[in-house]
């Protein structure tokens, strides 16, 4: 999905030249694509509309970062906006009150209230050493009370003894009394699942709320929910005043746009997420991860941030001018190497790309690591100032001296010289012929976006080949070996071979 959003954004921005800011037209076109992506992730339409308005305000006139392409910049804006709506700060449960703290669980049928009540009790017992009582007020679903009792026994929480002929409201009253008499720290009230259109049951919920005056009213919601999330959240919020949301079944593969719908509509933070069937599987909510999930992207955002940090504007401008003039010497090569290292080195860069995580180990095993870049740096530093500017001076005896000085071999020195030559050749081509367009491709970004295109599945050898092509054509700042036909074969010994090995 991110692939298609990214591709569509790329095509939207393909016409964007060297202008310094995103124009209204650019932004509108891009945001239409973002809108579709959010809708596909099940974010409710009214929420999408509101959200797009916010993003639009921020996006128009935003300065174009040199290091990233505008499509990526838009994605980052959207991502940050999502994080913002989802609740930037951690929102702990409000249970440090005069005991017993009362937590009321509410939600639709089948959203996972009872299971979540059990998980929450366990979490409070183990992490915060609270004495917890569970009470089921669900008289509707057959065996709902048995389910909560079984969970309570399993985790050794207090359970409100059942009795027949009591209404949910009477049960709540008795639970409150029992919890305070028996000195429980927390009382968790599980309620019957109800439809938001069921006035009678919603009224009962409101009555329970006013009687027990809960410290937290948690709306338990299924992350698989579609457009209805917004209706549900609003109905519950209007009826009982939700204080927080628990999102269940996040271990599924839904994009979870419901999370955004619900936080926006209620203005409440998502406090916890259910991530599995085990009773321990209740975690704190991470807005950034959720935003990434809704956009279905890897940590491209972090990559964009790093690129923005690492490549200082002035340095980038200086490089750009030199390249435009077709000038490129060993000093420039060195500066690119260092920028790449600042961005976390090759390993760091690859790690941030979607789908590459698994491959990291294999890459390490193939001997592609940052020590190689360090060696290349050492080789260049062992050259004299004159040699760095006039690479043609490097004859056999000078190369021997450099190898000795950098603790490498002559072959290593030859390889660096070859890489430099390949790169210089390309720079000349771009600087001379293609001019501004080539420059933009180089400085404007290319690499992170192109590589992002691999998202999703574990990369295959074919993906790797595609990746190397893209990097070759597209210009990751300072990647050694750039511009040769097979960039990795020169600059990154081992990686090309790695692709080949995998094919067998």
């Amino acid at each position: 999905m991110f692939d298609s959003l990214k591709d569509r954004l790329q095509s939207v921005f393909s016409g964007l030249g060297k202008r310094g800011a995103l124009s209204e037209g650019d932004v509108d076109a891009a945001l239409r694509e973002v809108r579709l992506a959010l809708l596909e992730a099940d974010v409710a339409l009214p929420v999408v509309r509101q959200f797009m308005e916010r993003i639009r305000e921020k996006a128009v006139g935003a300065a174009v970062l040199k290091a990233v392409r505008p499509d990526q910049q838009v994605i980052k804006l959207v991502h940050d906006g999502l994080v913002d709506v989802l609740g930037g700060d951690a929102a702990p449960l409000r249970i440090d009150v005069t005991p017993p703290a009362v937590i009321l669980m509410a939600g639709l049928q089948g959203s996972g209230k009872t299971t979540t009540a059990g998980k929450l009790a366990l979490r409070l017992q183990t992490r915060q050493k609270k004495k917890v009582m569970l009470a089921s007020l669900d008289l509707v679903r057959p065996a709902a009370r048995e389910q909560l009792r079984a969970l309570g026994e399993q985790i050794e929480a207090g359970i409100l003894p059942e009795s027949d002929n009591e209404t949910a409201v009477q049960l709540a009253k008795r639970a409150l009394q029992a919890a305070s008499l028996q000195a429980y720290d927390v009382l968790i009230l599980d309620t019957a699942g109800r439809l938001s259109v069921d006035d009678a049951l919603m009224g009962e919920l409101a009555e329970i709320k006013s009687l027990t005056n809960p410290d937290e009213v948690l709306l338990v919601a299924d992350s698989l929910t579609g457009q209805d999330a917004v209706t549900t959240a609003k109905a519950f919020h209007d009826a009982v005043g939700v204080t927080g949301i628990v999102l269940t079944r996040l271990d599924g593969d839904a994009r979870g746009g419901a999370a955004l719908s619900m936080s926006q509509v209620t203005g409440c933070p998502i406090k916890l997420v259910g991530t599995g069937e085990k009773l321990e599987a209740l975690e704190e909510f991470d807005p950034a991860r959720m935003a990434g999930r809704i956009l279905d992207m890897g940590d491209v955002v972090a990559l964009v941030e790093k690129a923005a940090e690492a490549i200082e504007e002035e340095e980038a401008m200086r490089m750009a001018q030199r390249m435009a003039a077709g000038k490129f010497d060993m000093n420039d090569f060195l500066s690119q190497l260092r920028q790449l290292q600042k961005m976390g080195g090759l390993g760091g860069l690859l790690g941030m790309l979607p789908g590459i995580g698994k491959m990291k180990k294999q890459i390490a095993a193939a001997g592609i690591d940052d020590s190689m870049m360090k060696r290349q740096e050492a080789i260049i530093l062992s050259m004299s100032k004159k040699e760095r500017v006039q690479v043609g001076l490097l004859n056999a005896s000078r190369r021997k001296r450099i190898a000795a000085g950098s603790g490498t071999s002559v072959q290593d020195v030859n390889r660096v010289v070859k890489q430099y030559q390949d790169m210089a050749k390309m720079m000349k081509k771009m600087g001379g012929k293609a001019g501004a367009a080539g420059l933009k491709a180089l400085m404007g970004g290319g690499m992170p976006g192109n590589m992002g295109g691999m998202g999703g599945n574990a990369p295959s050898a074919a993906d790797m080949a595609k990746l190397s092509q893209k990097m070759g054509g597209g210009s990751m700042p300072g990647l050694p070996g750039l511009g040769s036909k097979s960039p990795f074969s020169g600059g990154l010994p081992g990686l090309g071979g790695f692709g080949g090995k995998k094919k067998k």
């Binding site: 579709l36 809708l39 596909e40 992730a41 099940d42 409710a44 339409l45 639709l108 049928q109 089948g110 959203s111 996972g112 009872t114 299971t115 059990g118 509707v140 679903r141 057959p142 065996a143 709902a144 048995e146 389910q147 909560l148 009792r149 079984a150 969970l151 399993q154 439809l195 938001s196 259109v197 299924d222 698989l224 929910t225 579609g226 457009q227 209805d228 999330a229 209706t231 549900t232 109905a235 269940t248 079944r249 271990d251 599924g252 593969d253 839904a254 994009r255 746009g257 419901a258 069937e277």
Partner: protein
């Protein structure tokens, strides 16, 4: 037609949304770009998803309007499109009493309403005069067995169950044995909810089916996925994965009495052409009824169900 009124009441908010979103269009000479966007929004809000929405939009664009666009006109074009997509998947759940027992396996993600549906199905087949047996093969969720037993008591249906945490496949095996010995017409097996991306749980489901086949090679006769009516586009991933692991024969959509529109059915019908047997429209045992495309569509877009042409 009791269920229709319930469904219509349930879907009322959605039908008003579908048409209120479009009211600005009425009276226009032709459908322009912004009108198209309004229609698009309305369809998306009903959980139709992008591919289905775009296909319908294309059809509306291609439609020739005689004169200004009227509310009824647009509604009927929309309804026609939706009905065309949904009619082929209309198919009731039919029992072949020659099977003795006809085995129905209910599968789906957690909380979609499998156990409740099992109970409602039992009640329905009892009403139809068939002898029914229930099997509580959800041995994972706390009190799932008790919940099904509750339905058994309510509908006067025998329930085969084992220990919580027991082997679901073994229980299914025993249940078929039991149903045979008691000459039951129908055996409904309730399974534990599982998210479709959990490989080990999906493998367990495949195992249940393998073991059922050992006892009865042509069973399960129906493997039905139970989908929550509020579900979004993930329903497609659910059906796909359950189809791959369990070989689905049909689906049942629950909880359509709420505000959810169940429009994902349209996307599902386009993608999988899997029969839609029944829809759940309430909490009582009777609130499970046959899916009828024409009526579902009319509840969705508003207006009267159209006559068959």
């Amino acid at each position: 037609m009791k269920w229709l009124s319930r469904l219509t009441a349930g879907l009322k908010s959605s039908s008003s949304k579908l048409t209120s979103g479009l009211s600005a269009l009425f009276g226009k000479e032709k459908i322009d770009a912004s009108s198209i966007e309004d229609i698009e929004d309305a369809l998306i809000s009903a959980d139709l998803g992008m591919p289905a929405t775009l296909a319908i939009i294309e059809a509306i664009k291609a439609h020739r309007w005689d004169g200004p666009v009227s509310e009824d006109g647009l509604r009927s074009v929309l309804a026609e499109q939706l009905t065309t997509i949904l009619t082929p998947v209309e198919a009731p759940l039919t029992i072949n009493t020659a099977h003795q027992p006809h085995v129905i396996l209910l599968v789906g993600v957690n909380g979609s309403g499998k156990t409740t549906t099992a109970g409602k199905l039992a009640a329905k087949f009892q009403r139809d005069g068939q002898s029914v047996m229930l099997a509580a093969a959800d041995t994972f969720r706390a009190a799932a067995i008790e919940q099904l037993a509750g339905w058994g008591a309510r509908t006067d249906t025998p329930v085969i169950s084992g220990e919580r945490g027991g082997d679901a496949a073994a229980l299914a095996f025993q249940a078929i044995e039991k149903a045979r010995s008691q000459n039951s017409d129908v055996l409904i097996i309730d399974t534990a909810g599982r998210l479709q991306n959990r490989v080990e749980l999906m493998d367990e489901l495949s195992k249940i089916i393998r073991v059922i086949k050992k006892q009865m090679p042509d069973a399960p006769h129906d493997t039905v996925i139970v989908l929550d009516g509020t579900v979004g586009q993930n329903a497609l991933a659910q059906v796909k994965a359950f189809e791959a692991h369990a070989g689905l024969t049909g689906m049942i959509i629950t909880k359509l009495d709420g505000t959810a529109k169940g429009g994902v059915l349209v996307a599902l019908a386009r993608e999988f052409s899997l029969p839609v047997h029944l829809i759940g429209v309430g909490e009582t045992a009777e609130d499970l009824d046959v899916f009828r495309a024409r009526e579902f569509v009319s509840a969705l877009v508003g207006g009267e169900p159209q006559e068959q042409e």
